[in-house]
Symmetry: C2
Subunit: 345 residues, 2 copies
DNA sequence: TCGTTTTTCTAGAACGATTTAGAAGAACGA
DNA sequence: TCGTTCTTCTAAATCGTTCTAGAAAAACGA
């Protein structure tokens, strides 16, 4: 039962291994009669078809693209934004009969070599919201694996599908400025706050390039405003709750809170409601992404075409007819009930 | 630059390939000095570490578990229930430094051999809501890949992590019966309706084992009720909308609609609202799964510990200390505002 | 000092396929 | 009839590792 290989089948049929291989991969290289005899014998012997690893080794194609996420893989699924990206990517992958390999980006032994990025059998990689200097990116580069990032990197030859973070945030900033807000707290993703205690950060400490750029965008159109940066942990609903709690329970409440993702902003909304505060009246709230829940909650946000982003990444990775290697996707400010005029002092 | 292999490094350092291999995989098999010299030279030469495919071939371990979904992969991400499962599975996978390989289950050439299930380099597989007789399952079995399903299969030696579908549905049925409902429409996932036109089915035509079992469960505690089975397409919000539209716009309205998943039930809720109908008053609505959105929408539903289900599947697949191969997870009826007494005739 | 164990390293055979170049025979055209 | 072209199949090399068994050297115990 076990240990049936190409050779076994070849011997049983009385042909060379090459012919059996051809029966599977190049049907027009042998007569139909023989091919059928081979496949029949294979079935009889319980041969499951060419071994995946062996084929990958010899042919140099793994038939899978890797997907890299920030932080914990389990986390990624808690943000509908990330899920939307995956859905778009999966759509294209499916079209090209390619699998998606989700790689945990655990910190363990990233240098030593026993991590998934090092070990994964992939032909290409999609990099989702992984900060620029991350060691995993070096590993990929070193392995010579073509990659597309969702952030514009520094290298001019890196492929990416991104939005104009600064411009997108500037649009939101303009909206807020026009409403009279001059005291804003920005909720960001931060590893150090993941312990549970919210932290207040300087722009330099923020880390993730896209977060930094968004804050710069806000500054651009809100030059007179005081912008504070707060984190309640990783990018998740609970972090938004914690970050907002910290801000709302302090003596020094802002007039507006901007979550750098909708999940965080929705967490903040929850914290407001618990305190009897109405978004848009008592305090303005805005997010980024425009996930489905944002609409239901009436959250003002900056929409990104996330599924298209996933599709575009997939095309660059898999579709040879796609030549564009750097793509800027459009964004749109969606004003809903969670934003309103700043209260007069 | 290209073509740097173990051998290249070995030659450069002046040792045997085995030793270089050991430098990466068995650090205690050689002196620290030599190991460092090897790693340094490797870095210098631009060697990216042992090739994934070659390693997989020789050692027989791919370092990845496959995940099989019903229908389109992109679909899977539209159901928070499926996403929750993935999150749980990912958590365990991460712990064991294993990647998750999402395989498209496209119908193309499933027999011929050019499909993902056939080609994937995986050590094990998680099977999520794939109906019993699906050819992909045979392929896995044929390849000798250990698999765990989220449905109890027919084979006694198959591993699974599931719920008692009949009992869970029976619980819901009892609730509905007690409220006086005797005319119920069940919304199911169905491929034939995916074209756009809703269809009405008999129990035999339902297909997916778990759907069938749930309907049987309802019948069990609602023996006097008329149960009709309707599908608006695949398991998705839009299908729920379509299915409900078909039912609501007919002459023969039921007093209750049961979605066999929350996303479908929520779609039905949308259709009701558009028609000015209030769930729980004008018509009772219930679902399955208890996804986060169900709570927000006030949907009565049967809760499944979906993330735990994912975790349990992961443990069976990856954790050698887990001996239990068949696991029944608890369910719980969650009554919310969408269910109410049947209107008197 | 002489076995004996331990450490450190190596040779060579797998692992299971695909690929390249080419042989043998059939079919073809003139 | 003979040279040419197709079709059908094969031998042998190769992909880049890891594994098994064992050799050489070093360390050890008495």
């Amino acid at each position: 039962m076990a240990g049936v290989t190409l050779k076994t089948v070849a011997k049983a049929v009385g042909v060379s291994p090459s012919t059996v291989s051809n029966a599977y991969n190049k049907p027009d290289q042998l007569s139909t009669a023989l091919r059928e005899r081979i496949l029949a014998t294979a079935r009889e012997l319980g041969y499951a078809g060419p071994d995946a690893s062996a084929r990958a080794l010899r042919s140099g194609k793994a038939g899978a693209v890797g997907v890299l996420f920030t932080d914990k893989l389990a986390y990624a699924f808690s943000d509908p934004y990330a899920v939307g990206f995956l859905a778009g990517l999966a759509e294209v992958a499916e079209e090209f009969a390619t699998s998606l390999l989700l790689m945990p980006l655990s910190s363990t032994d990233i240098a030593g070599g026993s991590n998934a990025v090092q070990q994964a059998a992939i032909d290409a990689a999609a990099i989702f919201c992984v900060p620029g200097g991350h060691p995993a990116l070096d590993i990929l580069a070193n392995r010579g694996i073509p990659a597309v990032s969702t952030d514009r990197g520094d290298h001019p030859d890196l492929s990416w599908v991104a939005i104009d973070e600064v411009e997108a945030a500037a649009q939101l900033g303009e909206h807020l400025a026009r409403l009279g807000h001059r005291d804003v707290v920005v909720l960001v993703d931060n590893a150090e706050a993941a312990g549970g205690r919210p932290v207040e950060l300087t722009l330099d400490e923020v880390g993730y390039t896209d977060c930094e750029l968004r804050i710069r965008g806000l500054q651009k159109t809100m030059p007179d405003a005081r912008l504070r940066i707060v984190s309640g942990g990783h990018n998740a609903f609970a972090s938004g709750v914690r970050g907002a709690e910290y801000v709302l329970d302090s003596q020094d409440r802002p007039t507006a809170i901007v979550g750098l993702s909708d999940v965080q902003a929705l967490g903040a909304m929850e914290a407001m409601k618990v305190r009897g505060l109405t978004p848009g009246r008592d305090l303005t709230l805005a997010g980024f992404d425009d996930i489905p829940a944002a609409e239901a909650a009436g959250l003002t946000t900056v929409r990104q075409p996330i599924k298209d982003k996933g599709r575009a990444v997939g095309r660059i990775l898999l579709d040879p007819s796609t030549t564009e290697r750097q793509l800027l996707m459009p964004t749109q400010l969606i004003v809903r009930s969670s934003s309103g005029p700043a209260p007069k002092r």
